[in-house]
Symmetry: C2
Subunit: 413 residues, 2 copies
Amino acid sequence: MKNHLTPLGPKADKATVRRHNLSLVLRAVHDAGEATRAGVATHVGLTRAAVSSLVEQLLEYGFVTEWGKTSSGQVGRPGTVLKVARTGPAGLGVEINIDYVAVCVVDLAGTDRVRLVEHVDNRGVPPSQVLAHAARLAARAIGSAAEQDLLPAGVHLALPGLVTGGTVRQAPNLGWQRVAVEGLFAQALLALRPAHRALPVSSDNEANAAALAELWFGAGTEGVRSFLYLTGEIGVGGALVLRGELLRGAHGFAGEIGHMVLEPDGPLCRCGARGCLEQYAGQAALLRAAGIDADSGVRGVTDLGRRARRGEPAALAAIEQAGRRLGLVVSGAVNLFDPDAVMLGGAYRELMEWLAPAVERELALRVVSGLWTEDGKRLRAASPLGDAARGAAGVIVREVLEDPAAYAERVGE
Amino acid sequence: MKNHLTPLGPKADKATVRRHNLSLVLRAVHDAGEATRAGVATHVGLTRAAVSSLVEQLLEYGFVTEWGKTSSGQVGRPGTVLKVARTGPAGLGVEINIDYVAVCVVDLAGTDRVRLVEHVDNRGVPPSQVLAHAARLAARAIGSAAEQDLLPAGVHLALPGLVTGGTVRQAPNLGWQRVAVEGLFAQALLALRPAHRALPVSSDNEANAAALAELWFGAGTEGVRSFLYLTGEIGVGGALVLRGELLRGAHGFAGEIGHMVLEPDGPLCRCGARGCLEQYAGQAALLRAAGIDADSGVRGVTDLGRRARRGEPAALAAIEQAGRRLGLVVSGAVNLFDPDAVMLGGAYRELMEWLAPAVERELALRVVSGLWTEDGKRLRAASPLGDAARGAAGVIVREVLEDPAAYAERVGE
DNA sequence: CTGACTTTGTGCCGCTGATAAACAAAACCC
DNA sequence: GGGTTTTGTTTATCAGCGGCACAAAGTCAG
């Protein structure tokens, strides 16, 4: 066996155990909403004594708070109610998109406490300028968060492009190439808040962040932990979530579904190839097929929705066509991935009503062995646009929840 | 956050630490080939004392053996050489395929020690009969293993079809449906060895096992830990390995690449849809296009290879066509997954020489942003057919290496 | 050949984090 | 108000790793 069967990973010792269990009870309280020490103990399998000790530490660090006694009418001594703290550590998410910048602060419990959106056309604007703008917005959000006693543990950036290792390799819709976003953003933020400690900055694809938002905050999709997320924007973005984990690929570029082939000799795509999905089911193609100005963006899509609702044949046919094409490609992706569900976001969300039947038809036909229908996989509309910022904030929150000790060490002197 | 950010998982305690570190040093020795206690200590970060204690336990259980002193000419006291034991626990893999059954015993070090192959046409034969046959072969392999002081820790079955939860949902090429393979095999094996303890049986798709064989034992692919594996058989099988882990999907059906669409209105496929890849690049289609009897199987493929080598235009054109089609679909999969490499196995292996250029051309054209060429991703030929059994055996070996304590507890008394 | 030096492997002690069991506290029930 | 039940804490015990010292077994320099 030449290749390691599995990476060796770090050693384990007492400290490892403590960190692990600290995270375990914190997440148990988080998932339960509210809990008692005894409840957590039976749930996670630790002794009450151990949980007590762990909770004491979590209280000290400010990750959880006591909320009086449980007055449940149950026989026996009532327990003290524990909840995840609504102050202290938080996540800060920043979404930089083509025509807006959104910032979001999420607390440990997962509710968003600050949200700022600013509409700006970022196309063609120099990256440093856009990032400086985003940093200003972020600084404002940090200020609002501070007023609520929330302190972001880090910033996560979401950008529409191929991003890896802290830099945007290329973002065609922004016109960016090889931009070291993490560094530039950190620098801009530090310049705005010279007295403060630098926040750790991380970054990822916007579709990935949106998919995570769907996973963690999506309404009506509670049990779904494996899904394919599609977003109809200028292009067609995609992200894959498998068993609650984002599938990033070997280099972080997984999910590029927009350039799967439909017609080998079809229209030329800006990727250089021909007949990509984007050329048939992208926003521009969709609008053009319906006879609407292809550059009209969001307004164009709502217009298309209006026409479809009125029953205009051209609109319905255009959506139906795009839906069929989308279904062809998506069914392939489903065969390859075997997800529980497919979620359509972006422009598709608004057109779901007319798009879904066509997509669903192809799925039912092409997903092997009828697993699609049988296992109750479903086509769903994703949450409204702009939630990538929330997903990005969630990334930070998750990091804290998964290793509270690390955060405490970093912050506590 | 309605969904758990991450599954809670089990608690950690002293025992957890011990198990973890036990596996850690065992794998360290495994990966190094041979090592000393001190070397392992510095490598994994534990103290020499701790490693000593752990190694003592591993010696006691028989996972590692001492091999004299290290006579390296280095200054200082020579260390005692440790190697993974070549006796004791082993993995048993069983591949049940359309026209053969293969069995393989692999020891902890990863070398295969027993290999039995029997050619039989399993098409249309009742599952219980096929499984009984496989069990007989397995029993013989266990016997040969015992002569070499090897004791399989479990059996892993590899089958050509959709398999989940211990049962084959459907295996069109075998004509099976809803066959509880694990149960039947375990029963058959127990009947042959009534005095012995029952071996734990697990099962998976044949393409998955072959991909794992490629990952763990493949020649010339040492660093590649993320790849798409394609195997040209009757159908077109596929499997995805990402960062050294098999991607199973939400229900274990991931990798079905054979039914991705090429022509929405193309020829009818046995899956019920039209224009699937299988209809263009499957073995039968390939042979038919070259004017060879489509049912001639492996002989047909070698015949095709011979004709291609002679430069027969029909053969070359057929392969070229199939290659282009394969490339179209594979480039989509690469965009979706972002693997390091694509490996072609099965019938494709023999035709690699003529197939590769066509596939490569599409990949270079269609994989977004030229990552394909830039990052040195590559198209490679996979290992010879029949290694799925070896991969399956590897699954068992990995289980042991990842938790030696569990195995020792199970066996010890 | 001999003493200095280096490296290995193994005791021994201390620390820490979880378990187990006992106990006090605070409800309920009759 | 006594019995019961459940909670949370206290105390003693146990196991595993880190740190340190030390014997063992080699190389190197003179």
